[in-house]
Symmetry: C2
Subunit: 349 residues, 2 copies
DNA sequence: CGCCGGTCCGCAAACGTTACCAATTCAAAC
DNA sequence: GTTTGAATTGGTAACGTTTGCGGACCGGCG
């Protein structure tokens, strides 16, 4: 039952535990001969380092806490995966923890992770992001918030990595303009949310610069779902003199709603109306949807977050907070078309 | 920098470390008065148990390894989440580990987890499931494979928890029969895969019993995607004398393909053709799809797996392997209709 | 008064590592 | 021949807990 330890190896190969430890850690002060002998014994006995002991003495666990909201969505799935991938490359393991903000269990998630002596914490953005702060103070542990919106984090002085929403909105406008569209609509997210604000501002800024008309439709709902997309689409389509040739939906969910309503009303996509989404959720790639959209570039986001956390861990810096913005990219699929056929500089593959 | 330990608490409250430990662990041999005093000091100092040390001495880490294939899909996301939920309730933490079978890194995933001294391992089924076996022997750690198909696991003597695929197929046939369908088709998965075999057998067995005709379409592809669903659907629809009124697609992906082709060919769903899927993937719930399907019941699956693993950990039993089958359930949405309107005993909500 | 049982508490050894400080050897340099 | 110094090794104290064992104290009983 008892698993085999460094002591057993020492006994079996006739050296001290110190020597075994050195052999295992590629220490320089050991002869090549004994190193090999020790390592051979290790292999024979199937020795496995007890990382608990190592962490205890080195007070570095090489563990990263990953806090996710309870809701399972594909975005978080891909995020976790990429985080684990990158962390492992850098020699860290991920400890999963699903916060349940609604039950106030976010705090307990942190406590658990801290008790496990994680070296740092990655947190997917939720309304509870504020928790990042108190834990990040003295006695705490470095923490970076993922996908946090700049506006939120302004208040809470947290290290954040997120997609550049403003830039995304900007790129959306530029793209539609280059396709020849001059008359567009913007369909929003939860009013007041920083995601909405930034994407909206980015889109409007570019549109103004380029001289492109934008009809803004506010989201009537507190959340932005397919249903709210439908509502906004119906509202837009039924306005007297509806003449827009392209719609920028501030999220793919909203875009799906638009597509559905357009379908019902017989508006051909992309012939009559081009639709551009944001997020590149999995649905967007479905062969009967093929939504053109702005992608968050999750792998890069994850990688940047892990990198940042590493730096914080290694530097021990806790006085300066840093924010990284990841530039999104356009995924060209089938829901946007150039108004004059030769205007698209980057035709879909 | 150094975090506060049990020794500090002992000093500050004028007792021994033993007493502090007892106060923290609700040991009986301690007076109510000192317990409270000690706990108060702990609160004041923000003491947090070092679980590494505790695990080291008790040789129980209360850690569970979760091994997932690299591919992020919503199914695994929901699985992980439910696993974490259940594990935490039972006092365990999840250590995430994404195996990369194609790079042969599955083995290294196990090594990492074992080095972290996890008490048990949960593994999502992949082709590498065989790795479960060698690690489960002496010196190993209990392991349960999730969603493994019975046929696969027969060879590898592993503890498994999976959806009852045979039963799912059986229920599919019964359901369609009760709706009044007498002429159906079965669209398969990767030929030879146990998932396919069992769902197929279940469907055929029930159909035979009930006297319902089944046209079986084999999957031409090595994997079962939307595209292969399209191919099979086209093949079925174009057969001379195509008369089936309902299709059981052995996965939702295939069902989506069917829907798409039916759309193209102008076959109305569910008026002309009822479509029944399997898996209840997220897409299935989309408002413009609303696929009626057999659900794997992921939360229950996750819960059963965690429970089983707990039992294995606590009993130390390693001679008997157990298999659990979770009964699936039918999610009634919009793609199946009763042939005679009053025949559906459970109309969609 | 001696003894017993119970209640409460502390000492010290463990758990499996790593790290500091010696100790030993041996060859080269003085 | 002694010194120096590098190369290699070992002893032992940590890291922060838990746990077995024993000690101190106290009230009650014979």
């Amino acid at each position: 039952m008892r698993s085999i330890t460094i002591k057993d190896i020492a006994r079996l190969s006739g050296v001290s535990v110190t020597t075994v430890s050195r052999a295992l850690n590629n220490a320089p002060e050991i002869s090549e001969e004994t190193r090999e002998r020790v390592l051979r014994v290790c292999r024979e006995q199937g020795y496995r380092t007890n990382l608990l002991a190592r962490s205890l003495i080195s007070s570095r666990s090489h563990l990263l806490g990953l806090v996710l909201p309870e809701l399972a969505n594909p975005y978080h799935a891909s995020l976790s995966l990429n985080i684990e991938l990158c962390a492992r490359e850098l020699g860290y393991q991920i400890m999963l923890c699903c916060g349940r903000p609604e039950k106030g269990q976010m705090k307990s998630s942190f406590d658990l992770l801290l008790s496990q002596r994680v070296d740092g914490i990655l947190m997917a953005s939720t309304s509870d992001s504020a928790y990042a702060l108190p834990q990040n103070g003295p006695g705490g542990v470095p923490c970076v918030v993922l996908g946090a919106c700049a506006a939120e984090s302004t208040a809470s002085r947290a290290n954040t990595v997120s997609v550049d929403n403003f830039m995304g909105g900007y790129m959306a406008a530029e793209y539609l303009f280059r396709l020849g569209h001059r008359n567009t609509a913007y369909l929003g997210l939860r009013p007041g949310s920083s995601t909405h604000t930034l994407r909206n501002q980015g889109f409007l800024t570019a549109a103004r610069t380029l001289g492109m008309a934008v009809e803004v439709v506010e989201n009537p709902d507190p959340s932005s779902t397919i249903e709210s997309g439908c509502r906004m689409a119906r509202q837009l389509f039924r306005r007297p003199g509806f003449r827009q040739t392209a719609v920028f939906a501030a999220s793919d969910a909203v875009a799906l709603g638009v597509i559905q309503v357009a379908d019902e009303l017989g508006l051909a996509i992309p012939e009559r109306l081009s639709v551009l989404g944001f997020d590149n959720i999995e649905y967007a790639a479905l062969p009967n949807i093929r939504l053109t959209t702005i992608s968050q570039n999750t792998p890069l986001l994850a990688r940047s977050a892990v990198r940042l956390l590493m730096e914080l861990i290694e530097s021990g810096e806790d006085a300066v907070y840093t924010r990284k913005l990841v530039t999104p990219s356009i995924i060209r699929r089938a829901t946007c078309r150039p108004l004059s056929p030769d205007k698209d500089p980057h035709p879909p593959a």
